[in-house]
């Protein structure tokens, strides 16, 4: 009731630190985990002496029972030296030093730590009369096995994609990057989810200011939980007022490691099978995973093709409206006659046709995504082919518009980054509206605004249009538009300001 609303928003609610104050007692733990059916407490004898009993607490399902039985309970029952310890303190010290077979045994003196240990798959031994406890990691490792990437498939390349377990992911990275300089810093994000987020970089290569910037952004996050990628992305990306992606993600571990070796900072989030790379410029989103595996000439041609497709998906509908409605002299005569013949008896204006078809295209795409794959394909066939051809035959839309919208849509699918493709879709609508308003004049205004917008955004200090709009002072040999042969790319991208620019002999 003490919440006062100002401007539709509630007052800030600072994080309480510590979240659970007080001494570590069984009663306090039972109070914290009240009404939790998975909270288990058990009294355990040390040796065969009922007087030497401890209390074991854990959350069922979060721990692996075999580990508790074999590594903790068995030595406690069988190790006579434990039972013969003169006091509880000595017994605790003996257990911590090696009487227990478990790899991780930590002494905890704060209730906060103990509570979060329990929810993270640790079990806790409470010693009678002591304010400290022993916490042992016996978490279950139920997880999806490492498999080939689903969305970034390549013919040549590693097949070990990231999984949901952050520790598995860091181990995959370690296997690819055996450099001892690989640093992995960890933070916990989310009041309720307490999600582990790791920052990865290679010391001596990555710009330390960049690392600090990412770490600071992560530290500033104070949210409920990390249940989606946006929970982290939107908080660590400095400029959020753009639809264009400012941080790159990949499910391919080799691509992630290549980014780290380039001097970029990686972020891994527990529970999300993706790796994030920062900073990221526009050119990064137009590179496909197989580019580095393909012949350099082929990769160059495909990259140029992707840029062409980017302009096609962005500008084609707007240019069509501009030319058909405002600047008919731009159309070759025979094409103009074909368009006129195709548009005869179509009741709608060209701009309206394009906008409606673009909307229909988006609706079809959305419907296909939300449905199961088999039904999704049916929707695409019914929506795209049946309704499309019926609309053309019924003279509701003209074939030319259908072709323009379809070509623009398909060109958009060549974007290696879905986020970039989504941003282009939004701007495509903007340009179409401007084109409907003022033809090429409006299209050029929209394109200019887009360029100004792109030129004004940065990703962790790196201009988004690097190296197109920003001179780095060096001959840019990295793969942006043209991919040179690998032996010729001797330097890391200068825009990242790496500590060591040279990457080969």
């Amino acid at each position: 009731m003490d919440q006062r609303h100002t401007g539709g928003q509630t007052h800030p609610h600072p994080l309480r630190e510590p979240r659970y104050p007080g001494a570590i007692t069984l009663a306090r733990l039972e109070e914290i985990f009240r009404d939790c059916v998975d909270f288990v407490r058990r009294t355990v004898w040390v040796g065969d002496q009922p007087g030497r009993s401890l209390t074991l607490c854990y959350l069922s399902g979060m721990v692996r029972m075999e580990r508790i039985s074999d590594y903790l309970l068995r030595p406690m029952a069988q190790d006579q030296t434990l039972a013969q310890c003169p006091g509880v303190v000595q017994m605790m010290e003996r257990m911590r030093q090696g009487a227990l077979y478990n790899l991780t045994v930590e002494e905890r003196d704060r209730l906060d730590q103990v509570v979060f240990d329990l929810v993270s798959g640790w079990c806790v031994f409470l010693f009678p009369g002591e304010t400290t406890v022993l916490s042992c990691f016996v978490g279950t490792e139920e997880k999806r096995s490492v498999s080939a990437p689903d969305n970034e498939t390549v013919l040549k390349g590693a097949k070990d994609a990231f999984v949901e377990s952050i520790r598995t992911n860091t181990s995959i990275v370690r296997r690819h990057l055996k450099a001892p300089e690989l640093r992995i810093q960890e933070q916990t994000v989310g009041r309720q989810s307490a999600t582990l987020v790791d920052i990865l970089y290679i010391e001596g290569i990555t710009n330390p200011h960049l690392v600090e910037q990412v770490a600071a952004q992560l530290r500033d996050i104070d949210i409920d939980g990390v249940f989606s990628t946006g929970a982290i992305e939107e908080y660590i990306v400095p400029a959020a007022s753009t639809p264009f992606p400012l941080i790159q993600y990949t499910e391919r571990s080799d691509r992630f490691c290549a980014g780290l070796a380039q001097g970029r900072v990686g972020v891994l989030i527990d529970g999300i099978p993706l790796g994030y790379l920062a900073p990221a410029a526009l050119g990064n989103f137009l590179q496909a995973p197989q580019d580095k595996s393909s012949n350099w000439l082929l990769a160059t041609v495909l990259t140029v093709l992707r840029y062409f497709c980017m302009f096609t998906t962005l500008l084609l509908p707007a240019l069509y409206i501009a030319m058909v409605t405002f600047h008919q002299e731009m159309i070759p005569t025979r094409l103009a006659l074909s368009i006129i013949a195709a548009k005869q008896n179509v009741p709608f204006r060209s701009a309206f046709e394009v906008i409606v078809l673009l909307l229909a295209f988006e609706i079809l795409q959305e419907a296909g995504l939300r449905l199961p794959q088999s039904i999704g394909q049916t929707v695409s066939i019914i929506g795209g082919l049946v309704v499309g051809s019926a609309a053309v035959e019924a003279k509701i839309v003209s074939p030319a518009v259908l072709i323009v919208v379809a070509v623009a849509g398909i060109a958009g699918y060549t974007m290696p980054s879905q986020e970039l493709g989504g941003a282009l879709r939004i701007w495509r609508f903007v340009l179409v509206l401007l084109s409907s308003w003022a033809g090429l004049f409006g299209t050029v205004i929209g394109a200019a605004v887009l360029i100004v917008h792109l030129a004004g955004i940065e990703s962790f200090g790196v201009p988004y249009l690097t190296p197109f709009a920003v001179g780095t002072g060096h001959n840019p040999r990295e793969h942006v538009l043209l991919r040179r042969p690998m032996p010729q790319i001797k330097d890391r991208p200068s825009a990242l300001k790496p500590r060591n620019r040279r990457k080969q002999r």
Binding site: L337, V346, A438
Partner: protein, 359 residues
């Protein structure tokens, strides 16, 4: 929030149609409401009026011919617009036909219209209708296809037939401004729009015709001979066909002191032996080359004679000479007259190969 609301209101205002009167933005017009005019004809109608004939349509097959007359071309075109429900769009006019009567009075008004009109293009091909009117030519062509298709075919075949080369409004306007004379291809007002040489313009009006060998001479001087066939007689009396595949012309001024007395036009002709015996011996070959050179020089001489007779530098010879001797540019371009000059045409021919399998 207020700013967003203001933006939305502004955008809504733009959709109301009030912008048409703003005068800044381009005017929207749907393409399906248009009929694309592809050929435009202008004739003299009476003493004070011009007649405009337009040919086009909304499909490649369909050809409609409409015409109107008024005191000016703009007024006549406006009258055309009022005749049908569709908007006549002149942005795709690729040919402009001028009647002989109009051309004799002056073509500058017609060319000026193309220059000023927002839809017309300076790249429009320009034709003169000899012994008739543009309306008659367009009508005759429309009866058997369309004037546009016929003239496009004529332009495509210009290099092959060496009959007439296409000229654009821009070419003619530039030449009239630069040298006071120009030439443009002529067609007859029949259904096939047969090529009829060139009409020669001086001071913006038609003053003469270059036809037959003179027209071929014009093509030679401009190097537009892609596949002209010249028939000559060999030493043994057999008729031999020589296919002229290239010509390069140079113009050299002749001076007497500081006074320009004449211009020498020399053409290097390349030909192939198209028909006759296989590659002949050296003596026969030389004789064939000499005969070809003689024929081509004669053609050029006829074209040059027209220039001298009409006192019109329609071939731009003075400019070509000025390129060769730029230090005497002022003396060469100081005047446009050709009557007092000695114009000499020479040619040298080279037969490169024979089309015969043994050649």
């Amino acid at each position: 929030m207020k700013r967003v609301g203001l933006l939305v209101l502004t955008l809504m205002l733009l959709l109301t149609g009030c912008r048409r009167y703003a005068g800044i933005l381009p005017y929207a017009r749907e393409i399906e409401d248009m009929e694309l005019i592809r050929t435009l004809g202008v004739d003299q109608a009476g003493e004070d009026e011009v007649a405009v004939t337009a040919s086009g349509g909304s499909s490649q097959e369909e050809t409609e011919v409409v015409s109107s007359r008024a005191g000016t071309i703009s007024a006549a075109v406006l009258a055309l617009q009022g005749e049908g429900s569709s908007y006549l769009y002149f942005g795709h006019v690729t040919q402009l036909l001028l009647g002989e009567g109009l051309a004799r009075r002056g073509v500058m008004a017609s060319l000026d219209y193309v220059l000023r009109d927002v839809e017309m293009r300076l790249e429009t091909a320009l034709y003169l209708v000899r012994d008739g009117t543009a309306a008659r030519a367009i009508g005759a062509a429309a009866a058997d296809g369309s004037a546009t298709d016929r003239l496009e075919a004529l332009a495509d075949d210009a290099g092959l037939t060496a009959g007439s080369m296409p000229r654009t409004v821009k070419d003619v306007l530039a030449e009239l401004d630069r040298q006071g004379a120009s030439f443009l291809p002529a067609v007859l007002p029949d259904s096939g729009l047969t090529a009829a040489g060139y009409g020669i313009l001086k001071d913006g009006a038609l003053v003469g015709w270059a036809e037959g060998d003179a027209a071929l001479g014009v093509n030679l001087i401009f190097g537009r001979v892609d596949a002209d066939v010249v028939e000559v007689t060999a030493l043994d009396g057999t008729r031999t066909a020589l296919r002229v595949v290239g010509a390069a012309t140079s113009v050299k001024p002749v001076w007497q002191g500081d006074t320009l007395t004449g211009l020498k036009v020399h053409c290097q002709v390349e030909a192939n032996l198209a028909e006759g015996t296989a590659m002949p011996d050296e003596a026969t070959l030389t004789a064939l080359e000499e005969e070809l050179a003689c024929t081509e020089a004669g053609r050029m001489a006829q074209a040059l004679e027209l220039s001298r007779t009409l006192d019109a530098d329609y071939l731009g010879l003075r400019h070509s000479a000025a390129f060769r001797t730029p230090w005497r540019k002022e003396a060469l371009l100081g005047e446009n007259g050709m009557a007092g000059l000695t114009l000499e045409a020479t040619a040298q021919a080279a037969i490169q190969r024979s089309y015969h399998a043994d050649g």
